[in-house]
């Protein structure tokens, strides 16, 4: 091998690793932006919304009950609901991947997918 070949191989390696590095950083920075809020009712998906766009969306049910999803400042919450116990409304705002808010009376689940991880497997409550 000539000296130039080695330089070329070296240069290629540097370029390759730089690209690898840039891609990794890019992926890391963008995972949070691709985080989605998925709303299901009794297992049926009713909509998905990016966590980085502010939004208020009302979900109405046949019996007149409802939940209002609010996404604000990169976090999701139930802003308002017709359920008597109001447990979903009192729930803290969520933004980590796999975090959920559940409204039992309406069988509505708000779940974060693809966001930052809080490094826990499940929550005892």
């Amino acid at each position: 091998m000539k000296k130039n070949d080695l330089i070329l191989i070296g240069a290629l390696l540097i370029i390759a690793f730089t690209i690898l590095g840039i891609t990794r950083v890019w992926q890391k920075n963008n995972t949070d932006e691709t985080a989605m809020v998925i709303v299901t009712v009794d297992g049926q998906e009713m909509g998905r919304f990016p966590l980085n766009q502010d939004l208020e969306q009302r979900f109405d049910f046949a019996d007149g009950s409802y939940n209002v999803l609010r996404i604000y400042d990169g976090k999701a919450e139930i802003a308002e609901a017709s359920c008597p116990d109001q447990i979903c409304v009192k729930h803290h705002k969520i933004h980590y991947t796999n975090e959920t808010i559940v409204c039992l009376p309406n069988k509505l689940v708000v779940e974060i997918v693809g966001g930052k991880s809080n490094d826990v497997d499940t929550v005892a409550n």
Partner: protein, 361 residues
């Protein structure tokens, strides 16, 4: 490193090959997150469904068929025992004041009565009529007056449940007039234990069962690490909703606290864990109790009973019983943990400054 193999075989490097090499590098970078790879390797299956008035999350490493069987088992148990299911065994007993609990129902009843006796009635399977009066079973809350409560309390006493006949697979019971039973305080714990055993018998090595916040795990993660179980913060102003994280393998983790179900009236907060002696929300300065142990039903029952008992009596009870550990969060933010799990627990960053006391025997 694989990039080098692609390129260094050639002395006459041309731009096409360089391009190919770069393309490969890009492809390699983009081949997915570690999580996706891990999921493929571990063959993890999960399901989420509504049952027993709560949401259930189960994940196992193993045959998907086992998950649907598990779901059917849960639904069957609910049908058999729910107080809101009109023709359940429990509803029939509550209506007729006499009746039979069979199979799992008999086991749950027996296990529950053991905890009632062991905790001197801090858990009482007959508190249901009072709970109804407060509206905690429907969400239509109200504060009953003292006369109403005292009237209802006369029919609250697990000692007055008469066991008239006891078989291998059933229990016949007789209730006094006005008495009603509810197995809700232990059914989820029994169910998680039942699913744990069912998965284990069928060769599953790793499973995480979460029945509306009642957690039970089988083994650890397939990576060999323990499960990371977050304990919910009982404080409504919590930023991330987690008081701390417990590392666990092959354990049940059950938390009870007033924060789960409560309402406010005239500036006062009332929650759903009632003291069977007063018929009012148990208020010994505790915000939540987490019980960690091998037996799901016992953890479930004790989490309620020791919330009612308060810190001192709970610690006393723990000192006399070596089959569980616990984490108690006080209303003032102090945290007490028993020595058996102290090393496996870490407070969340937002509670890093909380007073943490390790209780020893």
């Amino acid at each position: 490193m694989r990039i080098m193999v692609l390129n260094c075989d050639s002395f006459k490097i041309n731009y096409k090959k360089m391009g190919a090499g770069l393309l490969c590098a890009l492809l390699l970078c983009g081949c997915g997150t570690e999580k996706q790879i891990e999921d493929k390797l571990t063959d993890t299956k999960s399901t989420t469904f509504f049952a027993m008035d709560t949401v259930m999350d189960i994940q196992i490493t193993g045959d998907e068929e086992l998950l649907s069987e598990a779901e059917q088992k849960v639904v069957a148990l609910e049908k058999q025992l729910s107080v809101t299911e009109k023709d359940s065994e429990v509803s029939c007993i509550n209506r007729d004041k006499i009746g039979r609990l069979t199979g799992d129902g008999a086991k749950i009843f027996a296990g529950g009565m053991d905890i009632c006796a062991a905790t001197d009635g801090a858990l009482d399977l007959t508190i249901y009529p009072v709970l109804k009066e407060w509206g905690f079973t429907t969400g239509e809350y109200k504060v009953p007056n003292d006369d109403e409560i005292n009237q209802l309390l006369e029919a609250v006493d697990y000692n007055k449940v008469e066991i008239s006949n006891l078989g291998n697979d059933y229990i016949d019971i007789v209730l006094p007039d006005d008495m009603e039973i509810d197995l809700g305080s232990i059914t989820k714990g029994y169910t998680s234990q039942m699913l744990h055993d069912f998965f284990k018998e069928n060769g599953v090595e790793s499973a995480l069962i979460n029945l509306g916040g009642n957690v039970q795990c089988l083994g650890g993660k397939l990576t060999g690490e323990p499960w990371k179980i977050a304990i919910k913060s009982p404080f409504p102003d919590s930023k991330d909703g987690i008081i701390g994280v417990l590392q666990a393998e092959d354990l049940a983790i059950v938390t009870s606290g007033g924060y789960e179900r409560y309402f406010e009236e005239d500036g006062k907060v009332y929650w759903h864990i009632l003291d069977p002696t007063t018929g009012k929300p148990a208020d010994k300065g505790l915000a939540s109790v987490t019980i960690v142990g091998k037996d799901g039903l016992r953890c479930d029952g004790l989490s309620t009973a020791l919330f009612v008992k308060g810190l001192d009596e709970a610690v006393e009870y723990w000192k006399n019983n070596d089959d569980f550990d616990m984490i108690i969060v006080m209303s003032n933010g102090d945290v007490h943990i028993t020595e058996g799990i102290a090393e496996n627990f870490a407070l969340a960053s937002e509670y890093a400054n909380a007073n943490l006391t390790v209780e020893t025997r």
